[in-house]
Amino acid sequence: MNWKAFVAMLQRDWRVARRNFAFLLVQTMLQPMLFVFVFGRVMTRSGFMPPEYKSLLLPGIIAIAMMFSGIMGVAMPLIGEFQYTREIEDRLLAPIAIEWVALEKIVAGALQALVSGLVVIPAAWLVMGSGVDISFHAPVIFLAFATLVSLLAASIGLALGCFISQTTIGLMFSLFVTPMIMFGSTYYPWSALAVYPWLQRAVLVNPLVYASEGFRAALVPQFPHLPLWIDSIALAAFVAIFLTLGLRLFRKKAIA
């Protein structure tokens, strides 16, 4: 394993992220912040939603922000680098096994997701105003779980980035990302779906469900949630699946 090359690639991504900082911030933050403003502030203040909804919403927003930024942070550059600029070829020719080029993308994307999660918490808190009742009673568990969510987001990004072509990026959003968010137990707890038992069972294939429910377990245990251990096991399993799939697709794309 050639750590020098691996670290140099991380430094390259860090340089680019710094250069595109404003762009990245808008890409990952704008959508969750708009949701927070409309559902967490406007709807609660006008009385259409109870004030407690703010606390229920926040974990879901963290999950969305992290998932979205991790997926985008890996998939979008990959799609461009493989098909448009072909710039990944320089890294494929670096003296390192090509799997590590993909894993470097995972690490960079996971870091991006983690930062988004950590930034979105105070930002959302600020936007929603008073009455947010969350507790960081177990910071280590929270961070460990957040890391798992970040890795999952980046792994999904790798698989999607190698699977989707430049012409079908739009389809990726409407077919994959949007349903994932709507059925990801983000704006409501998973238990709320009990009114549609078939749907409640169906959404269990959505990894975002476990991320949202896990953050609920860690931050707002007063609301119904799937237990943290189940969430963690499910996320770990999804990481394994998407990472394996992503690495296989990456290899197929990298070598003719």
Partner: protein, 348 residues
Amino acid sequence: MSTPVGVSTGLDVRAEGLRKVFRTSQAPGGPGGGQPFAARTTLKGRATTSDVLALDGLTLEVNAGEIFGLLGPNGAGKSTTVGALTTRVRPTGGRAFIGPHDVWRETVAVKRLIGVVQQTPNLDYSLTAGEILSFHAAYFGMSRAEREAKALALLDRFRLGDRAGQLVMGFSGGLKQRLSIARAMMHGPRVLFLDEPSAGLDPQTRLLLWEIIREYNAAGRTIVLTTHNMEEADAMCGRVAIVDHGRVIALGTPAELKRSVPGGYVVRVQFDAPPAALVEALKAFEGVTDVRAAGDNALDLYADRGGPLVPQIVARAAAAGLGISDVHISAPSLENLFLHHTGRSLRE
């Protein structure tokens, strides 16, 4: 683990019976193509994908320190050959080596020894020209001081010095090509692969490029370049392999290859008076296949030799009381050679 440079001896590149079949959906970028040879059919008999044979048992050896050319028309398999020698194309059959390392078993060791300039530009659009060189060298473990000095020197050599701080997004094709080659030289690879290095370049840039490539070669490094330009192969390469349909169909120095074609020399002789009376006598010279008028006072001799004919021509002209004002010998070209071997022109 800094730059693994050193003047190498022996064989640097070896391909043994390389074979590559592409499914059409995964054919590599660029104008390459190969030839479809089998249609895959489903049970219902509908064709779904057809396979393309890009390499058909290609074998070649490149000596350390030589400039080796792969000459052939678009789609002959040149880029696929480069891909198979540089870890980017997995051959369906056959083996490839860089130095002592098997390209498929020891990819990392191989990648340390090679620098590759692809046919399609693949520069990092998010970085400046200087950063592109510096990060590339960082992947190869060069220290910051070392790579920054080298980047400056190479940018200067490629006349890109004033571009160091610019993003490459708006660069012209020629600028991108120069930067791509500079990048491939950053880590001082023992074998430098250049896929169509001068395609689309203006004449001055092409000459600059040739000069830099020769310099790099003079430092003891091996160069493998592909081209469909016979002039380039002729000017640059110590040896040339002519590739067609994924096979090497002729191999040798440009001069040897050209000599292998019967006839092919053209000797143009400019006289100071109309030479009509000489035509029959010149036709009788050994090796001359045809003599045609080329303007009022000139004759073209088509022959299998050039220089050796000149003394006879001069003597014969003097005997006939004619003076000679100019003689020009055109050696057989690789273009003629390709035509001879394939029945097709390189430009087709």
